[in-house]
Structures are given as structure tokens and as C-alpha cells.
């Protein structure tokens, strides 16, 4: 039988900023399973097992919102199809199911959060939790696969470039604004290639993406607009990259940075990783580590909490945001067993 919590929560379609029915269901479920649970000030589902004044805290920080695109929820051949089954209600439900089943060790509280707005740039739920708690250990709920532990996520930077010049006859020799915008992009490509020399892993490279380039004219002025995205390794901060690439823009161009997230890469030799390795081996599996080229709420809380932190959850992240999103139920059960093993041996 599939987890009732998993099927019910996936059935409550909850794209970012429309999470309330899913949050209400999860809170009610936790209240019925020996959690102290409520909806917090920003709309997160919050649940706790163990005393609130316990000296040690394990934070299980999942997210309850999904990207848009409703997928009919169904179970076929042991696979649960539905939006969010992988990213990341599978992980969040595994947190809740495992915590409900576990005997919480003395001296510990285990907090399960279904955060809102992870799939949009605000990360409102995680920012709120980050400022309320300072846990000893944290697991971010994202699909790593039941046998793998995610140690890090790359950083991110978006830059909007805009350049407007008086309209000139195309017979004149000056470059058009479109050409100047393209030149800016090629300067960026060259700089990134130079920075990436000697770094073979994608995780260690700056990955630039030209997200859009458009030109327009009002009859008097031409304008070019570009949006450039960067995925950043830990040794490049969003601020430093923005400063470097700003040099390539004409002096009359406008540059606006946004979505600045510092990369985060956790340590392999800490109590949480050791516990997760033992828990995965305890299920008869061989663990592996993974680093992700995307971002998650680990980027939001990692630097401030400065505690052992990993991401973990069942499912294949290659199915994130796809119309074919589905989760093997056997893998879900394995992830619950891993998490329960970990919690009971804190």
C-alpha cells in the first residue's frame, strides 16, 4: 500500500503561492500523528516531535510548493505519477512519515517543515525558518535518490542588461545596439571559459546561459535587452561575478543583478553524513554522494546555520519539472526507512 500521506499530498496540487490546501492537509496529518503542528506566520506547514526545549534539533526542511503544470495523480506499476511526486513532496512526506514512525531520542526534537515558495525566487518559507531556528543538523528535502546524499548546490546570479542608443541609419559604420548586446554576451563567454580552465567538474565551473535577447525600436531609439543567468561554483560569489562582467558592458548600459544565491557545499566528515552513510548501508545499499548544478533551500539556510547539512529524498531529479514526473513507491519506502534509522540513532 502506498503511503496515504504521500498520495493525498501529491493529490493536492500546490503551485507556488497556492499552497494552502496542501499545507492544511499536512498540518492536520501531523496533528493526528503525535506532532505539535501548526501553520506558521508565512504559511509554512510546521510540525515538531520531541520537546520544544530539547537541547538538540534536527531540522527536516522540505518544500510543499511545486512548479505549475498539473499532472493527473495515479499509481501505475508501483510508480506514483503527479506534480511534486519527485520535486519535492516525496521528500517532504518521507520526512513526516519517518518522524511519525521513529522513537525520538532523549535530548532531541525533530522539526518537519513544508516550506512555501521554494520554486520561485522569493524562497519565502525558507527565509522565515532560517531566521527562527538554528538547528544542530539539517536535511533539505530534495530528490537525491534513496541511496545518495546531496552535499552541495551551485550558486546563482541573473543579470538584466539594457542599452538604448539614438536610431542611426544602417549604412553608418557604428555597431547596432543588437551587435553591442551580442558582444557583451561573447565577452562573458570568453571570461567564463578563462575562469573554468583546469576545472573539469560541472560543479566547479561557472555556467553562463543567455536566457533572452531582444531588440526594439520606437522610431527614435533602438534598445537591446539581455537576460543572462549564471550557475556559480563555491569559489565565485554572485557579487564578484557581477562586478567582473560589468566591465564588459558599454558605460551607458544599465545592468541589474537579481536572484543572487551563494553556492553551498557541505563537509563529508560530520555527524550527519556519517549517520546517513550508516543509515543507507543499514538498508543494504551502497551510498553515493552527489553535487547538484541547480539551487535549493540549502543555499538559503546553509551559510547562516553553519551546521552539518545535506539534501536527501527519494526520486530522480531528472524528472523534476517534467510532464512525466513520477516516484517509485518502493524507493519512497526505502527513504522512509533510511530517515527513521537516522533519527533513532541521533
Amino acid at each position: 500500500m502506498p503511503s496515504e500521506l504521500l498520495v493525498e499530498l501529491v493529490s493536492r496540487y500546490s503551485p507556488s503561492r497556492h499552497e494552502t490546501p496542501a499545507v492544511e492537509y499536512l498540518v492536520a496529518w501531523m496533528q493526528g500523528h503525535d506532532f505539535e503542528a501548526h501553520i506558521d506566520e508565512v504559511g509554512n506547514a510546521f510540525g515538531r516531535r520531541g520537546p520544544a526545549n530539547a537541547p538538540h534539533t534536527l531540522m527536516l526542511l522540505g518544500h510543499i510548493d511545486t512548479v505549475p503544470g498539473e499532472i493527473p495523480v495515479r499509481v501505475e506499476d508501483g510508480l506514483l505519477y503527479g506534480r511534486g511526486s519527485v520535486d519535492a513532496k516525496g521528500s517532504l512526506c518521507a520526512f513526516a512519515d519517518a518522524t511519525a514512525l521513529a522513537i525520538i531520542p532523549d535530548g532531541w526534537q525533530v522539526i518537519v517543515v513544508g516550506a512555501v515558495e521554494e520554486e520561485v525566487a522569493t524562497s519565502k518559507g525558507a527565509h522565515h525558518i532560517r531566521d527562527q531556528f538554528c538547528p544542530d543538523l539539517c536535511i533539505i528535502g530534495e530528490p537525491s535518490g534513496a541511496d545518495r546524499i546531496t552535499l552541495g548546490y551551485k550558486g546563482r546570479l541573473l543579470v538584466d542588461f539594457s542599452l538604448t542608443r539614438p536610431l542611426a541609419h544602417t549604412a553608418r559604420p557604428e555597431p547596432s545596439v543588437g551587435a553591442l548586446g551580442a558582444a557583451f554576451w561573447y565577452e562573458i563567454l570568453g571570461w567564463c571559459a578563462a575562469q573554468n580552465e583546469g576545472h573539469t567538474a560541472h560543479f566547479d565551473q561557472i555556467m553562463p546561459h543567455l536566457r533572452s535577447i531582444n531588440t526594439e525600436s520606437d522610431g527614435f531609439h533602438d534598445t537591446v535587452r539581455l537576460t543572462v543567468g549564471f550557475r556559480l561554483p563555491p569559489h565565485h560569489t554572485p557579487t564578484s561575478v557581477f562586478a567582473e562582467i560589468s566591465r564588459f558592458a558599454p558605460s551607458d548600459a544599465t545592468l541589474q543583478p537579481s536572484s543572487m544565491e551563494q553556492a553551498y557545499q557541505g563537509d563529508k566528515n560530520n555527524a550527519l553524513v556519517r549517520g546517513m552513510l550508516s543509515a543507507i548501508r543499514g538498508q543494504g545499499a551502497r551510498p553515493a554522494f552527489v553535487s547538484k548544478t541547480g539551487t535549493s533551500d540549502m543555499n538559503v539556510v546553509g551559510a547562516q546555520w553553519n551546521c552539518p547539512i545535506v539534501a536527501y529524498g527519494p526520486g530522480d531529479s531528472n524528472l523534476d519539472h517534467t510532464p512525466n514526473e513520477h516516484l517509485p513507491l518502493a524507493e519512497y519506502d526505502k527513504a522512509v526507512a533510511v530517515l527513521r534509522y537516522l533519527i533513532e540513532r541521533l
Partner: protein
């Protein structure tokens, strides 16, 4: 190989094991650089440390 050390699974070198070693701890072979995981304390057992992979998302 001393009593507190283990033999590297990759190159056979002597790998020093700290006295306060913990289960799940990752050790590094000083000769070949490979990482080893302490999977059991009693008896002291090691395995190749988990592979490091890269993946897309989220």
C-alpha cells in the same frame, strides 16, 4: 601494517586510523589519495568511500 592502521583497498598502502575514529568517517590514503569509509568499528572494517557524482536540478 600496525594494529591501528588499515590497508588501502586501492593501492595496499598503510592508512593511519585515528584512535577516536567513528563509524562512517572518511579516511584518505596518503599514497594514492583514494577515500575510504569506516563501515564498522568492531572489527575495524573499511570500504571504498561513496562515489561523488554530479546531477542537475533542483
Amino acid at each position: 601494517m600496525s594494529n591501528n592502521n588499515v590497508e588501502c583497498l586501492e593501492c595496499g598502502a598503510d592508512v593511519r586510523v585515528p584512535g577516536n575514529v567513528m563509524q562512517g568517517e572518511i579516511l584518505k590514503c596518503g599514497d594514492c589519495g583514494i577515500e575510504l569509509e569506516v563501515t564498522e568499528l568492531n572489527p575495524l572494517t573499511i570500504d571504498l568511500a561513496p562515489m561523488e557524482m554530479e546531477d542537475w536540478g533542483e
